[in-house]
Symmetry: C2
Subunit: 340 residues, 2 copies
Amino acid sequence: MTRSRAGSRPTMRDVAAAAGVGLKTVSRVVNGESGVTPATAERVRAAIAELGFRRNDSARLLRTGRTASVALLLEDLGDPFSSALSRAVEEVARARDCLLFAGSSAEDPRRERELALAFCARRVDGLLIVPAGDDHRYLLPETASGTPAVFLDRPGAGIDADAVLSDNAVGARAGVRHLIRHGHRRIGFVGDLPQIHTSTERLRGYREAMAEAGLPADERWIATGPTDRATVARAVARLTDGPDAVTALLTGNNRITLAALHHLPTGAGRPALVGFDDLELADLLAPGLTVVAQDPAGLGTTAARLLFDRIDGDRGPARRIEVPTRLIARGSGETPPAAG
Amino acid sequence: MTRSRAGSRPTMRDVAAAAGVGLKTVSRVVNGESGVTPATAERVRAAIAELGFRRNDSARLLRTGRTASVALLLEDLGDPFSSALSRAVEEVARARDCLLFAGSSAEDPRRERELALAFCARRVDGLLIVPAGDDHRYLLPETASGTPAVFLDRPGAGIDADAVLSDNAVGARAGVRHLIRHGHRRIGFVGDLPQIHTSTERLRGYREAMAEAGLPADERWIATGPTDRATVARAVARLTDGPDAVTALLTGNNRITLAALHHLPTGAGRPALVGFDDLELADLLAPGLTVVAQDPAGLGTTAARLLFDRIDGDRGPARRIEVPTRLIARGSGETPPAAG
DNA sequence: CTGAAAGCGCTTACAG
DNA sequence: CTGAAAGCGCTTACAG
């Protein structure tokens, strides 16, 4: 080994010296450019192998002006929704030889901002954001400087940017219609905090379905708030108790559905249930869990494609794309209303 | 706006010109270094605000020699195990102001290699790998050049590197002991392909538990192979049928457990079941699913800490750390053997 | 076919 | 307190 300094990596300059050629010739060989005699190329390749040289892409990209990377900012990289979405984004990025930075905001707006700006400082080619905060004006200088951003799952606020969303209202409406079709009239909705966009949209779908069927949507049948187990348990208990108790429930997301499943009575007295978001094992429960399934992979793929269109120079007006949800009937949403 | 060129980002040089100061003074203000009069600093800050300047960290890091990023190479970013692991790694990285590249090998050794080398070419400070291939000599030049690698879930091959693994044999042994304790004597094992390290280790644990209880481990009770639904269904049918049918099963991973749950008879005739890997909703099944749970977050945290120790200069011999698994009894593993 | 010079956007080492 | 020069490891634009 003729390494200049041990522990530090050889550079093109080292290779050039070892092969007795100019820097540019090494660059030509490394990049497969034409105009190098086979003999010279061979000498260069030998030097590369001997030194264990690998081109520093960070340096190359600095010169080139792009970074061949995009950033994906999620709520929580560890939840199934985020991870299915990430996987789809990765696949699109990969087809473009683009690497992926990933990070979680942990639902903290300040952390979202810090991470997003850190990615911008690295000069990622584009940004995919599942927003936690409700003010994204901090991104205005970045998008104005040419770093496109696409919002996912929820729209950005205070910024005119692309957004790729589930058709939340349509999906919730479909879920409630399904319950109505199975004979339910008193249907409850348990949702997330009202300041969350998806929560509001799903509640809107619930109201629309009730209205179009000529059913009242009694405010006592609607509960929105934190989604921890205890709070949801109380909400479920309230809605399913007393003379005006609901006979069916639409639960507004994954966590709420899980909490409800734990606290709902089992057996004949159990209200019908449709959950928003699919769950692993949902088909193995008894009865199987009927859900309005989102398509996280579809969201990821759509958003990533849109982002790359922007990176490629699409300057059209901001778009909002809705990705369809799908009702999957498995049993829990098809039980008839209990007598009463 | 006095931007030099629209669409392209302002640089420190632009800021310096706008503020009428030298480049180095801008650098001082941006980095919060001392030795700038308040008045000068104020002029610089005004120029920064007016131009919408944000320091290019990629350029800074090129000069500095590190990249403040690590790469996480998973089997599939979209599966729950990977995503829980990623989340833990991210948290450790974040505490070090380090960004995270993430990628999936999709269990393709060639893709693993491509991605790993692409990360090395970006000069990540370190590499975390859940290996797909069984030959990692391609990494030798990289680790020799000072990019540390830590293997996760399975050890690397052909390279003397750190590895952080689940205590697979111990966990499987605990699962089988649990079944024995509940009266089972004929216990089956359905595992992944024998060339997979975790599969072999879990099978070893199974054999150890049988041996220490003085029970035969009839080869007809052991099935290893692909983990698609159909293959597992056939294996389960074979093991649970006939006069020598097993009364209990240890399923060697998540996918196998799911397939088994779909194909096992329900009700009284169902064999007892312990699954390796926990599943969401496992406690809502009837009976609840008894599992040997891995600790993906623990794996991620441990591996990330080890990696940063290496990045910080720890040159000690390669370590192998085993992260404990945990038996969670929920019902399916506590049913007594069916008469016969 | 080959290579010296300049530059990507910063920081480092140094001089005033 | 301030800044001009050199350099991180490459590519670009150009000249031989």
